[in-house]
């Protein structure tokens, strides 16, 4: 048995438990230092994962598999978590609740890491619930009416989606007698009525994961939850949790249902168009910035889905590239909002009015993130979109690429509206902007990475090509 494969998850488990215990035993004044410890734990885990990715041994132990695909996503989650920790510090400035908050955040990340590495539906279920349950608690963390409302909606719909997942899993178990994704594949395609049941079970799983990715029409919870949650948690949900659900969707479909590809490809083409169009149209008429970015992140998931509608090596590696880029630009944008929310106490678009002049660096970074989300030259977003759309055209789906291109143009309207407020609308009231270095470091790094990937995308694209799941 090669227990060494489990080192990264062991480290992260230990770190999250230590943060939890530290919260109980540390005196009040020392509790803010738990943030640094959490960041340290995540960084060490990231180191261990990077080592496995580049030099270490890979393979599988029980139903936990370690390959480039799994490790790539684990790197995305850990980087996302580091950025989230950095943007949480000002939100938690009293720091008393730091232990609880960061241990939940680390446990959610642990759930995401296990989720993407599981080869068995039982471990997928348990790790999905670890991610979900920690997220429910994080959404409710502000403990006020809106936070509670967002959490309640997330919880009720999430509970329903996990019931759907359970039922789909039980059908698959009934049809194949196994919970292992690779063995389920061997039982497909069965003859006659069993085939329909198999497809039904597959679609139940797609619905359950689609809920987590917030695909239209399973997105109803997302805007409310994203608006109600503390802003750093919104960033986390919209990047890490979404990427985790997308990764497991990809893995389940490609490992367990490669033979059913004609069915799921059509489904995802429709879901992709619906998701990007509805997300963009709804984002156009939002005045609340957090809600606008929530709809924008729904639309972004629509672009990534192109990889499932046209599953070729080109689109799959593009989606992996895009998810990494998206983690930086989206968490970056939310990190700036987390700060302006906390200082101005407002979330509407007026709260950033004049920010480009009163706080030039933060305004510049937010501009970079928004341009990247929209997909303008010299940003990671453009590169990701270019690879995705080009892959769709090369894969023979010109109409899908055309719809996606039209949608990106549509999205410029609401991103540029925010940029107009940043530079050309004077602020109504002046605020004192406190300097918070962990936050500045986070936002600055995210902006630099966004620009770097836009100018020099080749290395990351090469890594993404290395990390493809086995193609159907």
């Amino acid at each position: 048995m090669n227990y060494g494969l489990l080192t990264p998850v062991d480290i992260l488990t230990a770190a999250s438990l230590l943060v939890m215990v530290g919260d109980i035993f540390l005196p009040k004044d020392y509790k803010p230092s738990l943030a640094a410890f959490a960041a340290f734990g995540v960084a060490v885990t990231l180191g261990a994962v990077l080592k496995q990715f580049f030099v270490g041994r890979q393979g599988s132990i029980w139903s936990y598999s370690v390959g480039h695909f799994n490790l790539y996503f684990q790197i995305v989650f850990l980087l996302g978590t580091l950025l989230t920790i950095g943007s949480s510090i000002y939100f938690l400035r009293r720091g008393r609740e730091a232990g609880e908050y960061f241990s939940l955040l680390l446990l959610a990340t642990l759930g995401a890491m296990l989720l993407v590495s599981s080869a068995n539906l039982l471990t997928i279920y348990v790790s999905l619930e670890l991610l979900s349950i920690s997220s429910y608690a994080l959404v409710a963390f502000r403990r006020d009416a809106r936070s509670g409302e967002g959490a309640l909606k997330y919880f009720l719909l999430g509970g329903m989606s996990s019931a759907v997942f359970l039922y789909g899993t039980s059908l698959l178990y009934g049809l194949s007698g196994s919970l292992d994704l690779r063995l389920i594949n061997l039982h497909y395609p069965p003859a006659g009525n069993a085939h329909l049941l198999f497809l039904a079970a597959m679609f139940l799983l797609v619905v359950a994961f689609g809920f987590k990715v917030a695909l239209v029409p399973f997105h109803m919870w997302a805007p409310d939850t994203y608006e109600g949650a503390p802003t750093p948690v919104t960033a986390y949900l919209s990047a890490v949790s979404k990427a985790a659900a997308f990764a497991v969707l990809l893995r389940v479909l490609i490992t367990a249902f490669p033979a059913a590809a004609p069915w799921w490809r059509e489904t995802f083409a429709i879901l992709s168009v619906a998701t990007m169009t509805l997300g963009n149209l709804a984002a156009l008429r939002q005045n609340n910035l957090k809600r606008m970015l929530a709809y924008s992140s729904i639309a972004q998931a629509g672009y990534v889905l192109i990889a499932l509608a046209v599953p070729t090596a080109a689109t799959l590696s593009a989606s992996l590239f895009y998810l990494m880029a998206y983690t930086f630009m989206n968490i970056g944008a939310f990190a700036v909002l987390a700060y302006t929310d906390a200082v101005t106490g407002k979330e509407d678009v007026e709260s950033v009015a004049g920010l480009g002049l009163s706080l030039p660096w933060a305004g510049l970074c937010l501009t970079v993130f928004l341009l990247s989300l929209g997909g303008l030259p010299f940003t990671a977003g453009l590169m990701g979109k270019f690879f995705l759309f080009y892959g769709a055209v090369a894969g023979g789906s010109v109409w899908l690429a055309a719809v996606a291109l039209g949608n990106s143009v549509l999205s410029f309207f609401y991103y540029f509206r925010v940029i107009r407020y940043l530079y050309w609308v004077p602020a109504k009231e002046t605020h004192k902007w406190p300097s918070v270095w962990p936050w500045g470091l986070t936002v600055g790094t995210a902006a630099l990475v966004t620009l770097f990937l836009g100018v020099y995308p080749a290395p990351l694209l090469a890594l993404a090509r290395m990390s493809l799941p086995v193609i159907p």
Binding site: A137, R146, G148, E149, L152, L156, Y167, S170, G177, S178
Partner: protein
């Protein structure tokens, strides 16, 4: 069709209808529990059919996870109730648009 599976499908349908038409989060949550348990029943009967232990083990873990979910869920419902003094899902609508 095996009577156990029939019961499980009925429970699933009842639970789904319950979530969709009832407006009290506690009752909605009870309906969700019913959906979870319909899947558990299916697992146990399939486990019997295949004479394998996988389904039984799954049910054990699913029940444990459900217990954790209940703890968080009731906490959230209490939190909402504390601010609004009502738990009608139609009234919980300050976030929309």
């Amino acid at each position: 069709m095996n009577p156990y599976l029939l019961t499980s499908v009925l429970l699933l349908a009842l639970g789904t209808v319950g979530v969709l038409i009832r407006r009290n989060p506690l009752v909605m949550f009870m309906s969700i529990e019913m959906m979870w348990n319909s899947a558990n029943l299916a697992f146990v009967s399939f486990s019997r059919h295949w004479l394998s232990q996988g389904g039984q083990v799954f049910v054990f873990l699913a029940l444990t996870v459900a217990a954790a979910e209940v703890a968080i869920g009731l906490g959230i419902i209490v939190l909402v109730f504390r601010y609004r003094h009502q738990i009608d899902a139609d009234q919980i609508n300050s976030l929309k648009g």
